[in-house]
Subunit: 504 residues, 2 copies
């Protein structure tokens, strides 16, 4: 079977390929279908087609865009069984409940919420100064390139996830770059997106799909003059290269990079509900084999008997829980390297630390430990992200040392503090929270950070290097739409020439 | 008299200076006071003091910040005569009406509008999802470095202008880098800012002032880990160097760079009201000696008798109007170089083109001309900004060629179309406006772009390279505050720990 075609300008056609790659079943290491690595020519054609589609989209109403998103959501549901089956094959994420019952409904819900936002139009913040006859609102930015992550084959997929939904709802065509760990799933979704686009009379190139390019062509894509903006979720090293290219060209790129999501558990909370918290922690760490952007990768505790008991309980839970299958060979390798880097920096292995000998990609559930002093001596190395089912515990001597650990943290998506419910930890909380607040996008109390609700109040974002701009969120509608928008002011423009939302 | 002191950590003290520079009266070329060029040590101290002030500011209410801004506005008014006199001496901008009657009241009005926004708090877009107990709002980003431009010694001054007001109102301390063309004016303003801060019990380092640094130290400043963001308005070359440094460090920088503000005048408009438009155009071009970011630097007309008559009228007006004094030797030099670059690229001089022989810095009012064909052959060179009293006219063969000229434009702050009031130009408008819309932040009809109203609906921003991010405006409250803010989400945070605006 030849490599699958790419979707460019409304047509599935053979790629202008420099090479091919194979998807792989991470649970068995068996090769799956073959996909093309596109040469620049494919990107170039996609860019031109997207630019043309963008011109056509400018005359679409919010209702028309909404109809497309809703038709697409319906088509995903109609093909649900096939999609989740292939997603499971490519990622080893369980069909149920994960893919069929959680992620796919989340995906279609996001598409429908984005549709509602497009129909409603208030995301664009129309502002009318009738007295001076000056009016403004957000408008679409132009073709958006989306690089989706490996860990959500549906809900963050380049061609169906949050960035896709936000970019389309804001009025932009999308050039999707499939994640190489689930290209087949992405293909199925793109087929439905194209069919929905045709059924709702969208421009042919509203959605296009390429599978992979060289790094150089990726950098060229995000900095091309025809691109409006890029949404990227993935590894820090690749993301920073794309950022450098986009920045240099004056192009916007919204990045979601690494995050270790510090969780501080104060002594009163442990005295009050040690087992409960140990359970929450282990579940959050190991859920999805720890492959979440908001996985709690750094736990900060104060030295003492309760902490030792907590760690015993956590270790027992880590041992008892089956080690899940990792998403890909790449994830397995980088998790192993991350753990090694933490160990080299002085971390002691409480449990796990090694690859398991199963036939798929897997790593024993791993918990590492350092003292606060050790952390402060090597804060950079000890913030190495070990993406997967591994976390690092920092046991600080006292609350001041814990505060100092917080002061040394980079920007993160989330930060959490568990404290005594009757106020016994309040003084400690007041030392920790003000330091943690500026380091994270989402501050939690008494709740693990995994589980990113699609709420208008959500912020799935945070200070660099968690993301590239701390003023924007990747999850939460309508705010996520404004990443892919530009502010358009109309000064003394005649009434009939104004966008409908800006008329008196 | 020794060089003036810098304002660091609430104290006027001698700079840690590597050298000094003198302000200059551009109307006479006479040297004025001496100011220090700070070594890195001054920046370093200012950064540490600002970081400390930021911590203290986090507990201030909007009311308290508003009281500071209002006290400052009052103090500027109380010292008005001295301030406008020195601003006139340093910039040659007329005391009346420009400085005393327009710019100073605009400045104090901006400070008061920012105060009202701080007091009201709705700029922070508080969003409450009570059902899921997730809440979010914008919070301050941290110390803001402000590099103000040369052309508004009060209303865009680093220590009193729009960026200053927005940064403070959002809850951030400011490190002001004075523009070297009006350091004395900046000093007077900073004195009042400090006095107002003391009177309203603000942290000492809420406002700090240095006059100049090396380019390297400027780049270090905007990328320092203690900085939250930078606001820069000024030359493109210096701005892009700062952007590269900030981008590399993952720091935000809001830039306002060059803009030539295309104005398209359609044939019907000329037939209808040629003299009126020629008058508006000449006034807009020459006002403030053309030294506005929104100066109409590129006029696009269609070949024909009306256009020739329009140009005759404009030339007569350019000849008749006195050539104003330019802001500085630097502006005079770069204007002269800009005009030369345009001439080298094929522009024909209709009027002016040379420095005048007056004792101050001055350039004859200059109007240059190229054909549409010429423009399309050298679109980059013919978009060289000639900041000052010079504009380039492009006479296109027909509307299609005019549209093609628009297609070749870079991003600009503004774009304008004049058309027949009874619809004779509507078909032409419909060809031009959709192409111009994505190239500019503010689209105007029948109105010159100079004059940037401080309206909530204003967008003083636009696509790169006019600015660094097309989603933000530098003028217009409250939107301008959100440049200096980060999105803070609170997930399951206990009620008494929430910011007041997020409580039920």
């Amino acid at each position: 079977m030849p490599a699958h075609p790419v979707l460019i300008a409304g047509r599935w056609r053979p790629a202008n390929a420099t090479a091919t790659f194979r998807a792989e079943n991470p649970a068995t290491r068996e090769p799956l279908d073959e996909f093309p690595i596109s040469a620049w020519g494919d990107c170039d054609e996609a860019l031109s087609a997207a630019a043309e589609a963008f011109e056509q989209m400018r005359s679409l109403t919010g209702d028309q865009i909404a109809a497309f998103l809703e038709a697409y959501a319906g088509r995903i549901e109609a093909r649900k069984d096939e999609i989740v089956k292939l997603a499971n094959l490519e990622t080893a994420l369980p069909v149920s409940p994960r893919l069929a019952d959680n992620e796919l409904p989340r995906t279609t819900s996001q598409l429908r919420q984005a549709a509602a936002a497009a129909r409603d139009g208030s995301w664009a913040l129309p502002t009318i100064d009738a007295k001076q006859n000056i009016r403004s609102m957000y408008g679409p930015i132009g073709p958006v390139a989306v690089f989706g992550p490996n860990n959500f084959p549906l809900a963050f997929n380049s061609v169906s996830g949050g960035d896709f939904a936000a970019a389309i709802a804001a009025g932009n065509p999308v050039i999707a770059k499939a994640n190489s760990s689930h290209p087949g799933t992405t293909r199925l979704l793109a087929e439905e997106a194209l069919a929905a686009a045709q059924a709702t009379k969208m421009p042919a190139a509203i959605v296009q799909l390429i599978y992979r390019t060289s790094h150089e062509d990726g950098e060229r894509l995000v900095s091309d003059c025809r691109i409006g903006a890029t949404g990227y979720t993935g590894s820090r090293s690749a993301g920073l290269k794309l950022k450098a290219a986009a920045d240099q060209a004056g192009k916007l790129i919204y990045l979601e990079l690494s995050s270790i999501n510090p969780v501080v558990i104060l002594p009163g909370a442990l005295e009050e509900r040690l087992d409960d918290i140990a359970g929450q922690f282990s579940t959050s760490c190991l859920m999805g084999t720890g492959q979440f952007c908001t996985n709690p990768g750094l736990i900060i505790l104060l030295a003492g008997d309760s902490t030792e008991k907590f760690l015993e309980s956590a270790v027992a839970r880590f041992k008892a829980a089956p080690a899940g299958t990792l998403l890909s060979a790449g994830v397995a390798k980088s998790l192993s390297q991350g753990i090694s880097a933490l160990v080299r920096a002085g971390a002691h292995t409480l449990v796990g630390g090694k690859s398991t000998s199963e036939k798929g990609y897997s790593q024993a559930n791993t918990l590492l430990r350092v003292s606060g002093q050790q952390f402060l001596e090597a804060p950079d190395a000890l913030q190495t992200e070990a993406f997967g089912n591994a976390s690092l515990v920092v046991v600080a001597d006292d609350i001041d040392q814990a505060a100092s650990v917080i002061d040394h943290l980079e920007g993160n998506l989330t930060g959490c503090v568990y404290s005594h419910t009757a106020g016994a930890d309040d003084a400690a909380y007041d030392k920790i929270a003000p330091r943690l607040r500026p380091k994270v996008g989402r501050l939690l109390n008494d709740k693990m950070p995994t589980g990113v609700a699609v709420s208008p109040a959500m912020n799935h974002g945070g200070p660099y290097p968690a993301t590239g701009h701390p003023g924007f969120t990747a999850v939460g509608i309508p705010a996520s739409l404004r990443r892919f928008a530009v502010l358009h002011c109309y000064d003394n423009v005649r009434p009939h020439r104004l966008p409908a939302a800006l008329r008196d």
